[in-house]
């Protein structure tokens, strides 16, 4: 009885970790796509800054009618276009996060349904190649927490972006990079390594 539930739980965990890995790849690729967009935002921020500093009326371009308004409009429009592209990226990130959350909560549900047959000794038992159920559940939770935290941080930064906040636009690239948590990523890959034997075993 306990053996069979254990096996089915392990099976679910296996698929969970597999999908976690694929999702991680998706996540990283989306993040990679975001980088040039953030760069162009920073560039636009610089342009806007220069535009604010320069008085067109005092420059050699003063003869051109409403150049100031037109250029400003164009720049803001460019920012908006980039922001629109980023919104799509955020949506993809959210999809990844939700997929992971669903997977993890499904694994937890299965554990909780069978909690009566799985006593604490069983779930904390580990071998050389198979981590304990408790370990794996914990890792799943950690991974999920990592993605949630990362998504929330990035979304928070993204939401604060506005075409009129030039200083934020200028620094957005660095900020975006600083949101990543190397220790969290390290932990994720650590987890992947730890479960690799288990996932590949039949």
């Amino acid at each position: 009885m306990s053996k069979s539930t254990l096996l089915s739980l392990e099976q679910v965990l296996k698929t969970c970790f597999q999908s976690l890995e694929t999702n991680q790849k998706v996540w990283n690729s989306v993040l990679l796509e975001c980088t040039p967009l953030m760069g162009s935002l920073g560039n636009l921020g610089e342009q806007l800054r220069a535009f604010q500093k320069v008085k067109i009326a005092n420059s050699p371009l003063h003869t051109f009618p409403d150049l100031h308004e037109r250029l400003h409009f164009k720049l803001v429009q460019a920012v908006d276009i980039v922001l629109g592209k980023l919104t799509d990226k955020m949506c993809s990130l959210q999809q990844v996060r939700d997929a992971i959350s669903n997977q993890v909560s499904r694994a937890f549900q299965l554990y909780e349904q069978n909690v009566d047959t799985l006593d604490l000794t069983t779930v904390t038992q580990r071998s050389a190649i198979t981590p304990s159920i408790a370990d794996m559940l914990e890792w799943l939770q950690d991974s999920e927490h990592y993605y949630r935290q990362q998504f929330l941080r990035r979304k928070n930064l993204f939401q604060t972006l506005r075409s009129d906040d030039v200083s934020l636009l200028e620094t957005v690239s660095q900020r975006w990079e600083s949101l990543g948590s190397p220790s969290g990523e390290e932990r994720l890959s650590d987890i992947q390594h730890k479960v690799s034997f288990f996932v590949e075993s039949q």
Partner: protein, 214 residues
């Protein structure tokens, strides 16, 4: 999304079209407009890259001058040589940019011809149908005069833009203020005078003449 080059006068007629006469001419003109704008945009991107290069060269020259002032004569010959090479390169790039502007000028003159052609069609219609013009529109809804209007508006916008670009070409290499250079670059890249209404007019023109599937 982009429509890559319509059949126009420039690219020879291979597909026989049902329309003839004024309608034919107007339709061809619309296709020409589209192609000219595409060319212009390509030139603009090209010019933008060159302009960026000029600004970077100018900035490095600036920093060079500053450096020379700081370290007097120790590295004078090499740096002066470098500066010389730099200024040579700068001149070359400026020439490139000038050439781009010349090409744009060429496009503009073609645009002007299109405008005068539209005007000619109106004159023809006035001659044929009197001052009230033709009763049945050439294509769908636009009266003939509107084609001429749109054409001249487009021409005005590009003309203004070209004037701006000429001004930029003249000033770009001489400015020392990095912020101003930046503004020049944004002006070049974002073409402030070619605004959304211009795009809209062009789209309307293409739609009316049946180039775009309605």
């Amino acid at each position: 999304m982009e429509v890559q080059g319509f059949e126009g006068t420039n690219s020879g007629r291979r597909t026989p079209s049902a329309v003839t006469g004024s309608a034919r001419k107007v339709k061809d003109n619309a296709a020409d407009w589209h192609n000219l704008v595409l060319k212009w945009d390509r030139l603009n991107d090209e010019g933008s890259t060159i302009a960026n290069k000029i600004v970077n060269l100018g900035l490095s020259k600036d920093s060079h001058v500053n450096m020379m002032m700081e370290c007097e004569e120790t590295s004078a010959p090499s740096s002066s040589q470098n500066a010389f090479g730099n200024s040579n390169e700068l001149e070359e790039t400026c020439d490139n940019l000038l050439r781009v502007v010349e090409k744009m000028d060429h496009i503009l003159s073609k645009m002007e011809k299109l405008v005068s052609s539209e005007q000619g069609i109106i004159n023809l219609e006035t001659f044929q149908y009197g001052t009230g013009g033709r009763q049945i529109p050439l294509f769908q809804t636009w009266p003939t005069s509107q084609f001429a209007e749109v054409s001249s508006k487009l021409y005005e916008a590009y003309n203004q833009e070209l004037t701006l670009k000429r001004a930029i070409v003249q000033e770009l290499a001489h400015t020392t203020n990095p912020d101003l250079s930046m503004v020049y670059l944004s002006c070049w890249l974002y073409q402030p005078y070619i605004d959304d209404s211009v795009k809209l007019l062009l789209e309307g023109l293409l739609l009316e003449t049946g180039h775009r599937p309605s």
